[in-house]
C-alpha cells in the first residue's frame, strides 16, 4: 500500500469513526438530505455548456470529434452506450431522460442508480481521491468518485475514466485524462441541480461547465432496464425523439 495514501486513510478513518453510525445515512443528523428519485424534464443530445457557445475544443479534440461524428454517420463507429447499453460515462449520464435515484447509504457512501442501463455510481464520502497509480489500472466508464458536503452541496470529484464514452449523444469525446467535479444540491424543495466542471486539457482548451436540473419524483418507481426492450414513456421529457 502506498504509504502516503495509507496514512491519509488512517487519519481520515479516525475522523470518520467518530461521525459514523450504521443503518442510517452517514452523518444523517448533519449531512443535507439530497436523497430521492429525480427525473429530468428536458433532454439535449448536444451538451449545453454554461455561458453558451461551442465546446472549447483543442485541435486534437476537434479532430477526434470530427472523426467520431463522421464514423457515427457512416456506421463505421457504434454508439455502444445506446446499442449495447454500456455505461454512459460523465458527463453524458447526467443528460439521461430516465429517472434516477440518490441514496445516502451505506454509511460513508452516496449511491446513485440510473434507471437507464442500470448504471450504478458509488461515491465514497470524505476520502481522498486515489492517486493515478491506483486509478490507471482500473479505468471505469463512469470513473471513480469521491465526495464531500460543502454546506448544502454534495461535491463529487471523479477521475479514472476509460476513454470509451462520449461527452454527449452527438459524439463529442474526452481522453482518459478527464477529471470532473460535480456540485449537486437542492435548488428548491422539488428540484436538484448538478453543475459539472469538465477538465480534460488534451481535448479542451479550458475547463468548462454544464448544468443539469432534475425534478424530484418520489412518486415514480425505478424500473428494470434491458437493452432493446420497450421501456417507460418519455414523452414528458422535452427534446426526446424516439426513433
Amino acid at each position: 500500500m502506498n504509504d502516503v495514501f495509507a496514512r491519509a486513510g488512517l487519519a481520515l478513518g479516525a475522523v470518520l469513526a467518530a461521525a459514523s453510525l450504521p443503518g442510517a445515512a452517514r452523518g444523517a443528523d448533519t449531512a443535507p438530505d439530497i436523497a430521492g428519485i429525480y427525473w429530468a424534464s428536458r433532454y439535449d443530445a448536444k451538451i449545453q455548456i454554461v455561458g453558451g457557445g461551442d465546446l472549447p475544443l483543442t485541435a486534437a479534440g476537434k479532430a477526434a470529434y470530427d472523426e467520431n461524428m463522421a464514423g457515427l454517420k457512416n456506421g463505421s463507429i457504434t454508439d455502444t452506450a445506446r446499442k449495447f447499453c454500456l455505461p454512459d460515462g460523465l458527463p453524458r449520464v447526467l443528460a439521461t431522460p430516465y429517472p434516477f435515484e440518490i441514496v445516502q447509504a451505506p454509511p460513508g457512501q452516496v449511491t446513485i442508480i440510473y434507471e437507464f442501463s442500470h448504471q450504478i455510481r458509488v461515491v465514497t464520502m470524505d476520502r481522498p481521491m486515489p492517486n493515478d497509480k491506483e486509478l490507471i489500472p482500473y479505468p471505469f466508464y463512469n470513473g471513480h468518485s469521491v465526495g464531500h458536503f460543502e454546506g448544502d452541496t454534495l461535491v463529487v470529484e471523479t477521475a479514472g475514466f476509460n476513454e470509451k464514452t462520449f461527452v454527449d449523444a452527438t459524439g463529442a469525446l474526452h481522453t482518459d485524462a478527464l477529471r470532473t467535479i460535480e456540485r449537486i444540491r437542492k435548488v428548491s424543495p422539488i428540484e436538484l441541480e448538478d453543475v459539472i466542471t469538465v477538465h480534460d486539457p488534451e481535448y479542451y482548451t479550458r475547463d468548462w461547465q454544464a448544468r443539469f436540473v432534475y425534478r424530484q419524483r418520489n412518486d415514480v418507481r425505478l424500473e428494470d432496464y434491458t437493452c432493446g426492450n420497450v421501456h417507460r414513456d418519455l414523452s414528458a421529457v422535452a427534446g426526446v425523439h424516439r426513433p
Binding site: 450504521p22 454500456l86 447509504a105 449511491t111 437493452c227
Partner: protein
C-alpha cells in the same frame, strides 16, 4: 482492487469500534446490517443452490451424469462439463420436464450451455442469487437495494408495504420486504416475466412465479444465508425450497460491465446479447 480494498479495510476497522449500535426496523426492532463498513458478499464461485435437508428441493444434477463445474474441475483435475438435470425431481410439471429434457439433449450434443447471464440477460429471482461473484446491499428505512457487481444489476425491495395490485411483469419483478427478529430480511417477489430460468439448469417458469427469500446473518455475521421458497403453480407441482450462502468480504462495488468483449472466437452457437437496434432516445 487491492489498494482500495486494503485502505478500505483500515478504515473499516476504525469504523468497527462504533459500528455496533443497531439501527431500528419499522416496528422498533433492530435490523441486520448487511451493508456498512464496505461489506460485500462473496458467492464463492459455485452457481448452484443448496438443497434443503428435507422436503421438495431444486433441480439438481442427474446422479448418472454428475456436473463438474469449472471450480470443481480446478480443485479435482476432472474435465468440466455442462449440467444434465435430474428429470425425476417431483416438483416438475410435465412441460417443464420436456424443456429440461431438451436442455439435457442440447448439452449432450455439444451445444454451449452458458447461462443467459453470461450473455448479459438479467437472471430474475431466484436465479440472481446464483451469481457466483459479489452482492452488495444498500439499506434505507424505506428501501433495500440488492446490487450485483456483475453487470451492475439492481433489485429494489420496498419495505413495509403491500404489493401493488397488478405489477407489470419485469425481469426482477416487484419485491416487498420487512425485517424479522433482528437478524433477517424477508423479501416477497411477484410480477416477474417468463423470460428467465429459475436455476442454472434452464428450468423455466411462468409469470405466476412467487419467491419468498429470508436473508439472515449467521456465523457471527461472517456469513449471509438465504433460505427461499419458490411457488409457481404453472411450472411446479408443489412449492420447493433451497438456500445459498455468501461470505462477508471488505469490498466496495466496482464497475463490472457485461456487454463488452463478448466475441465468440470458437464459433459455438450462443444466444444473442441484449441490444437496441434503434437507440432508445
Amino acid at each position: 482492487m487491492p489498494r482500495f480494498t486494503s485502505t478500505a479495510a483500515v478504515i473499516g476497522i476504525l469504523y468497527a469500534g462504533v459500528a455496533l449500535l443497531p439501527a431500528l426496523a419499522a416496528d422498533g426492532g433492530a435490523i441486520p446490517d448487511f451493508s456498512s463498513n464496505n461489506t460485500g458478499w462473496d458467492g464463492g464461485g459455485e452457481n448452484d443452490f443448496t438443497s434443503p435437508k428435507s422436503g421438495p428441493g431444486p433441480v439438481t444434477s442427474d446422479p448418472a451424469e454428475p456436473y463438474i463445474s469449472n471450480f470443481t474441475a480446478r480443485r479435482t483435475g476432472q474435465a468440466p462439463n455442462w449440467r444434465i438435470a435430474d428429470l425425476t425431481n417431483p416438483i416438475l410439471k410435465p412441460w417443464v420436464v420436456d424443456a429440461l429434457r431438451q436442455a439435457n439433449d442440447d448439452a449432450r450434443n455439444g451445444k454451449a450451455m452458458f447461462t443467459r447471464e453470461a450473455r448479459c440477460w438479467p437472471q430474475g429471482v431466484p436465479a440472481m442469487l446464483l451469481n457466483p461473484i459479489l452482492l452488495f446491499f444498500v439499506q434505507t428505512p424505506k428501501e433495500v437495494w440488492i446490487l450485483q457487481q456483475a453487470d451492475h444489476r439492481v433489485r429494489r425491495v420496498y419495505l413495509d408495504q403491500p404489493h401493488t395490485a397488478n405489477p407489470k411483469p419485469s425481469w426482477f419483478g416487484e419485491s416487498v420486504g420487512h425485517y424479522e427478529g433482528g437478524d433477517t430480511l424477508v423479501v416477497d417477489t411477484i410480477g416477474m416475466n417468463d423470460k428467465t430460468f429459475v436455476d442454472s439448469y434452464r428450468t423455466p417458469h411462468t409469470t405466476q412465479l412467487h419467491v419468498v427469500e429470508r436473508f439472515k446473518l449467521i456465523d457471527g455475521g461472517k456469513t449471509l444465508e438465504v433460505d427461499f421458497t419458490v411457488d409457481d403453480p404453472g411450472a411446479f407441482n408443489m412449492p420447493w425450497s433451497a438456500s445459498k450462502r455468501w461470505k462477508r468480504v471488505k469490498r466496495t462495488l466496482e464497475e463490472e460491465t457485461c456487454a463488452e468483449n463478448n466475441a465468440t472466437f470458437f464459433k459455438y452457437e450462443v444466444e444473442p446479447m441484449p441490444q437496441a437496434d434503434k437507440p432508445d432516445f
